[in-house]
């Protein structure tokens, strides 16, 4: 079996160890004999919506994000919409997540239009507002996901998107409604890096499974030896919450 992933703007959108997510997907596929081919698509490069099973976009600084936002709208936007409609698995982290929404309103009030792939919008509450920085533990499908958030913008979900996870410790989308990230069909957005996928192996496998099922029908992944992955996960839970046992579903 094989999968093909489009890594969007690896040179611009790479600020918080986002490469770790690609490394994780590569490793988890490779260890199961699945070949994962990664193609890097920079500014100006067209995206063929039928070529890919997965797409990843990371976070960036404001300056780079503006250039990427323009390219998303003018070069890759339509293809990404087509890909999302056909069930391509898209993971967008931090700045990339914000760009998947309708718009990002900067501290100065200027609006940066996004792609509208997720029914969300993001508002920066002003230069004086506190950045959300720190370890995060959230509940996702009855399990924990862990990561680190570092964002000034507050993201709000419309009716067309569901929260990806529910905050146990940390701020998440906006610090108000305990939601973290957003999901619509196979499009996933989140503020979590750290990197996200290496120490959330079940979430990583979930993405791989969705991509495989779309291409190859009913596929089950064989389990891997995740001793190190789970230990890193538990360590992050413990440091973020000072607890070893988390009550879920509350």
């Amino acid at each position: 079996m094989n999968l093909r992933l489009a890594h969007l703007y690896p040179k611009q959108m790479n600020i918080y160890g986002d490469r770790g997510n690609i490394i994780s997907l590569r490793q988890r596929c490779w260890r199961r004999g699945i070949s994962l081919e990664v193609e890097e698509l920079d500014i100006g490069a067209p995206l063929d919506p039928e070529r890919f099973d997965m797409a990843f976009i990371g976070g960036a600084q404001d300056r780079e994000q503006q250039r990427v936002a323009q390219d998303l709208r003018e070069v890759k936007g339509e293809a990404l919409h087509l890909a999302a409609e056909s069930g391509v698995v898209i993971l967008a982290v931090c700045g990339g997540y914000q760009l998947m929404g309708h718009y990002y309103r900067e501290a100065g009030g200027e609006e940066l239009p996004g792609l509208g792939l997720l029914d969300i919008h993001t508002v920066h509450p002003g230069a004086q507002a506190r950045r959300f920085i720190g370890n995060v533990v959230a509940e996702w499908r009855g399990m924990t996901v862990v990561g680190f958030e570092n964002h000034g913008g507050r993201t709000f979900l419309g009716n067309g998107a569901s929260p990806l996870a529910k905050i146990i410790s940390g701020h998440g989308n906006n610090g108000k409604d305990r939601s973290e990230g957003a999901v619509r069909r196979n499009v996933f957005g989140t503020y979590l890096h750290g990197s996200l996928l290496p120490k959330n192996p079940r979430f990583a496998d979930h993405l791989v499974t969705l991509a495989l099922q779309r291409r190859h029908g009913d596929v089950q992944l064989e389990p891997l030896d995740d001793m190190v992955e789970e230990a890193a996960h538990q360590e992050a839970v413990r440091l973020a919450t000072r607890r070893t046992l988390i009550r879920l579903g509350g």
Partner: protein, 464 residues
């Protein structure tokens, strides 16, 4: 009066905290002195007849300051320095208070020169208070984003600080880093550019850790004819024509030698050759920064040469100790660019290595450990004999190393002491153990190893 009280109180606090073993008395005395006399830094710094040099940047500021302090001392001046790496305002206040007598004045002020390492974000404030003769900017990499928010935030802070400086202040910049090079145009006074002019030292391509590869003027992607590490190299923008400035102080030849680097330097006063007792290209840049700082102070080449030749490692930066028959080398890891350089350097020295990583996530380390995913650990593939992992985020590091293909289940030992014991046990006698900690882990590691090696804790090794 007030100042005298501040100096006295700081002195008592320093002695007390040293006696209690509470950490070398580096920050607390300064905090107290500033509380009693908020103007203490401005007035004491102003008394030093030879003025001050500030050193800031993401990587290399501790080593550069140390080298420059050596140079300054070799010129017959008495340096005042925040040697312990306490680089916020209080660390500078503590250093100045330590150089003052009971009247609250700097002792032998006619012969004093300040050499202060300054935190990137604190630079604007310190520049206002200290009124330096020169400021050295080493480089700008992503580091501690949990504190600063973004790399661009620091870049704009620096630009404003440079613009606000009086004309007499000399700006010393690394011309090979586009981020520091661009500061030159904001300077109102003299600018001294330093850089590496040895194309043989160029690596194949740009690393994953590179950040500033976009033109600061027009936003286009920069082209490189030589990349030395990270985004440091010979850069040019095809789109707007901006390019690496020609260095005033250059290293025209850098060759790895036994335990150091053989270098040839060019300054406006001529050339000199020196064997730098520190390894790695990043230390050549530190030597360049220190030499350019010396040029800013009007020192001649013989003084620069001697200062650089007699340098020793700053604490936790390539320090070597002999512990239980093994050479132990402690190398601080702070960010992807720095750690990539470290890995490249130790790899080229050894066919088989014993390495222990210590990853902490306290505030001084950077709470966000995502950066380890930008480090090219696969540089060590096939070269490891022993591997031990420790620290608060030991399992994150173990996972990173697993995915770099170095070990499927690296040995993890959260306790610093036990991890060091295991790592030493794995290292054959007579061989070198590389200990690579983040900042707060480095302090713990040094304490333990120092005790085993029979050396004092770190502040006793530093002279004021």
């Amino acid at each position: 009066m007030r100042r005298a009280a501040a100096v006295t109180a700081a002195g008592i606090a320093a002695r007390l905290s040293r006696r209690l073993g509470a950490g070398g008395g580096t920050a607390l005395p300064g905090l107290i002195a500033e509380r009693i006399d908020p103007g203490i830094v401005r007035s004491l710094a102003g008394q030093m007849a030879l003025g001050s040099v500030l050193v800031t940047g993401t990587n290399g500021k501790t080593t550069t300051s140390r080298l420059l302090r050596n140079i300054v001392a070799g010129a017959g001046m008495q340096p005042v320095a925040n040697a312990e790496g306490s680089n916020m305002m209080r660390g500078i206040a503590a250093a100045l208070a330590g150089a003052a007598g009971w009247r609250g004045d700097v002792r032998s002020p006619a012969n004093r020169a300040g050499v202060f390492e300054v935190d990137e974000a604190t630079l604007p404030l310190v520049a206002r208070e200290v009124a330096p003769r020169a400021i050295v900017f080493t480089n700008l990499f992503r580091d501690q984003l949990d504190r600063y928010g973004e790399v661009d935030t620091v870049a704009s802070l620096w630009q404003e600080a440079v613009r606000a400086l009086p004309e007499g202040v000399i700006i010393v910049i690394n011309g090979d880093d586009p981020s520091t090079a661009s500061l030159g145009e904001h300077a109102r006074g003299r600018v001294i550019v330093y850089g590496l002019d040895d194309p043989r030292a160029s690596s194949a391509g740009i690393e994953h850790a590179a950040d500033a590869r976009w033109c600061r003027w027009c936003g286009a992607e920069l082209g490189y004819t030589a990349v030395f590490y990270g985004h440091i190299g010979h850069w040019a923008c095809d789109s707007c024509g901006s390019a690496r400035p020609r260095p005033d102080v250059a290293c025209v030849s850098a060759t790895p030698a036994q335990d150091g680097m053989d270098c040839e330097f060019h300054t406006p006063a001529g050339e000199f050759a020196v064997t730098l007792p520190l390894q790695g290209l990043y230390n050549v840049y530190n030597a360049l920064a220190a030499a350019a700082g010396g040029v800013a102070l009007g020192l001649d080449n013989a003084v620069l040469r001697n200062g650089l030749a007699q340098s020793t490692a700053a604490f936790g930066r390539q320090e070597r100790l002999l512990v239980q028959g093994r050479q132990v080398e402690i190398i601080l890891a702070k960010n992807p660019a720095g750690l990539n350089q470290v890995l490249r350097t130790i790899r080229s020295n050894n066919p088989q290595m014993d390495v222990a990583f210590f990853l902490n996530d306290r505030v001084a380390d950077g709470r966000d450990i995502s950066w380890i995913w930008d480090v090219d650990f696969d540089l060590l593939a096939g070269k490891l004999r022993g591997l031990t992992v420790s620290g608060r985020r030991a399992w994150d590091m173990a996972l990173r190393l697993k995915y770099a293909g170095l070990a499927d289940a690296p040995r993890v030992e959260p306790s610093t002491k036990r991890a060091l014991r295991i790592a030493l046990g794995q290292t054959p006698e007579g061989e070198t153990l590389y200990v690579i900690p983040t900042y707060t882990a480095m302090l713990e590691v040094r304490n333990v190893l120092g005790r085993w090696a029979g050396r004092g804790a770190f502040w006793q090794g530093e002279s004021r």
